[in-house]
């Protein structure tokens, strides 16, 4: 069974191949991680899957539907959600409003009803607000409901992005370095959060540099290097793969 399939994907920037004929398969359920040195193409891969970049070649298939070149916002409809390496918080809105934007597709977004604030809109917003409170509490941000986002700490914003992505009720959530910039305690909390998300039946794809986090939560790991697949497998497979060890530790590692 596959949920998401990437087939022979390529993309280059100014002659440099960021993603080079890459194929991979995501099964529904387990936590998948993508690792690799800087410039290996991890974030580019995320941007290709979520439609922000258009691929130079290859296909992306969600279940049986070809989603290559789809408009970005349609992918949310299909159950694909993500967070960003560089925070993309709506700093002009409160925390709870950020999450409510995530429920956009399930909201009444008709123009006329919005203008006249029909009872339907009022009721809808109440429901959405309650749901958003639940989500914020789920990511442990219950204290920040109506907080101004530009006065929230960095770690909280990281979790807010996750709550916002969850609000779209995704089947797949792609987390781009959720632990970057966090202190050890916060990293542990993120670790727990990722597991909790997975337990809710959402397939997690994780890009992360924190190896302890990756090795702790992942069930399947892809290792990229130079836009190509260096290795894939379980945590044990990857740990014992000499190529990976070499890539991470350099030539000296191989000698040992």
């Amino acid at each position: 069974m596959t949920l998401l399939r990437v087939e022979n994907l390529s993309r280059s920037f100014g002659g440099i191949k960021a993603i080079d004929d890459l194929s991979l398969t995501i099964r529904p359920g387990p936590i998948h991680s993508i690792i690799g040195p800087n410039g290996a193409g991890k974030t580019t891969l995320f941007n290709l899957i979520s439609g922000i970049y258009k691929p130079g070649g290859g296909r992306i298939v969600l279940e049986d539907a070809d989603i290559t070149g789809h408009a970005i916002w349609r992918l949310a409809e299909l159950g694909l959600a993500r967070t960003f390496q560089n925070l993309q918080i709506f700093f002009n809105m409160s925390a709870i409003e950020n999450v409510m934007v995530g429920m956009h597709l399930k909201s009444d977004s008709r123009f006329i009803t919005s203008l006249f604030r029909t009872p339907g809109i009022v009721k809808g917003d109440q429901d959405k607000r309650e749901e958003a409170i639940r989500l914020l509490e789920f990511v442990d941000l219950g204290d920040y409901l109506d907080a101004d986002t530009d006065s929230m700490p960095y770690g909280a914003l990281k979790r807010l992005e996750i709550a916002r992505a969850l609000a779209t009720q995704p089947r797949i959530i792609m987390l781009d370095e959720p632990a970057a910039g966090l202190n050890p305690a916060e990293t542990v909390a993120i670790d727990g959060l990722i597991q909790k998300i997975s337990e809710n039946g959402i397939t997690v794809i994780l890009v992360e540099h924190d190896m302890r986090l990756v090795m702790g939560v992942s069930e399947h790991i892809f290792v990229l290097e130079g836009g190509r697949m260096l290795a894939e497998g379980t945590v044990a497979d990857i740990r014992n793969n000499p190529d990976v060890v070499a890539a991470y530790l350099g030539e000296s590692g191989r000698d040992r």
Binding site: F13, T43, N47, I52, Y53, F84, Q85, N86, Q88
Partner: protein
């Protein structure tokens, strides 16, 4: 027919050269600060008006011109110091309004100093037209074009050959790195306004004998110069020069062959067409947003 064409062409190149200088000013400031200086057209106005009045006060013409340029440079630097620098980090819209406020202020200043009326400035070397291939060209037009060529070449030399010029280019492409290697960004910013003011005032002095000098002369010139800067790809000085000439020539040809009524629309029609096809300007290579 061909004499007419030449006539239109010369007319277009003359006006286009002014647009080029104004566009160049936009580009230089944009490079240094990412600010669109809507007061750029006012530098042109100040250059022309100040010369008229220094000359009228009895100074010899070259001295009057030099004084006008110096005065405009001083005003440009004051603008940077007292209006742009304190607003560091403000949003694009806020900065646009600040520079528009500055342009209103400078127009007001000119009105207070010199009144609201039209003034003429005698041409630098007579007004007997020169016959070139059947077209009659004013000596002043040659001054405008020649002046622009000299300025463009000097600037190219400045940016490519001098330490200060190179520092300006470096801080435009990577401010952080520039600061790390010890370039004084504040100084660069001040310099960029001084340079733009100088370009504007020279354009104003050169064009004044042709267009008259009055407080409102900078508005349209400023907008057309902005067109040139955008058309050339914001922050691409040579692109701005080329685009300024393209705009000027298109205008003159439109007035000559199609309709003089829609002459002023030409620049804006070109810019819309280009922006719709190439959202980052005619001579830009385009970039990708990093997420």
């Amino acid at each position: 027919m061909s004499a007419d064409f030449l006539q239109f062409l010369f007319s277009g190149i003359t006006v286009g050269a002014t647009y080029a200088l104004v566009g160049l000013g936009f580009s230089i400031i944009y490079n240094a600060s990412h600010v669109i200086n809507f007061a750029q057209g006012e530098f042109v106005m100040l250059g022309g008006m100040a010369t008229v009045f220094f000359y009228g006060a009895g100074l010899p013409m070259p001295l009057a011109m030099a004084m006008a340029v110096a005065m405009t440079i001083f005003i440009g630097m004051a603008l940077e110091k007292f209006a742009v620098e304190p607003a560091k980090g403000a949003s694009i819209v806020t900065l646009i309004i600040i520079t528009i406020g500055a342009s209103i202020f400078l127009r007001g200043l000119a009105e207070v100093l010199w009144g609201r009326n039209f003034h003429s400035l005698p041409p630098i070397s007579g007004s007997d037209p020169i016959n070139i291939g059947g077209a009659l060209v004013l000596p002043q037009s040659l001054w405008v074009v020649g002046g622009t060529i000299v300025i463009v070449i000097t600037l190219a030399w400045f940016f490519n050959r001098t330490m200060t010029g190179k520092a300006m280019v470096a801080s435009a492409s990577n401010p952080l790195a520039a600061r790390l290697v010890g370039i004084n960004l504040k100084f660069i910013l001040l310099l960029s306004f001084a340079l733009s003011a100088m370009l504007g005032s020279i354009a104003g002095i050169l064009i004044a004998p042709i267009s008259l000098a009055y407080p409102g002369v900078g508005i349209m010139l400023g907008l057309k110069g902005f067109c040139a800067a955008i058309l050339g790809g914001m922050g691409n000085p040579m692109g701005a020069v080329l685009a300024g000439l393209i705009v000027g020539i298109s205008e003159a040809l439109t007035a000559g062959y199609i309709s003089s009524a829609y002459k002023d629309a030409v620049a804006f029609i070109i810019i819309l067409a280009v922006l719709f096809l190439r959202p980052n300007g005619l001579f830009s290579t385009g970039g990708t947003e990093r997420v």
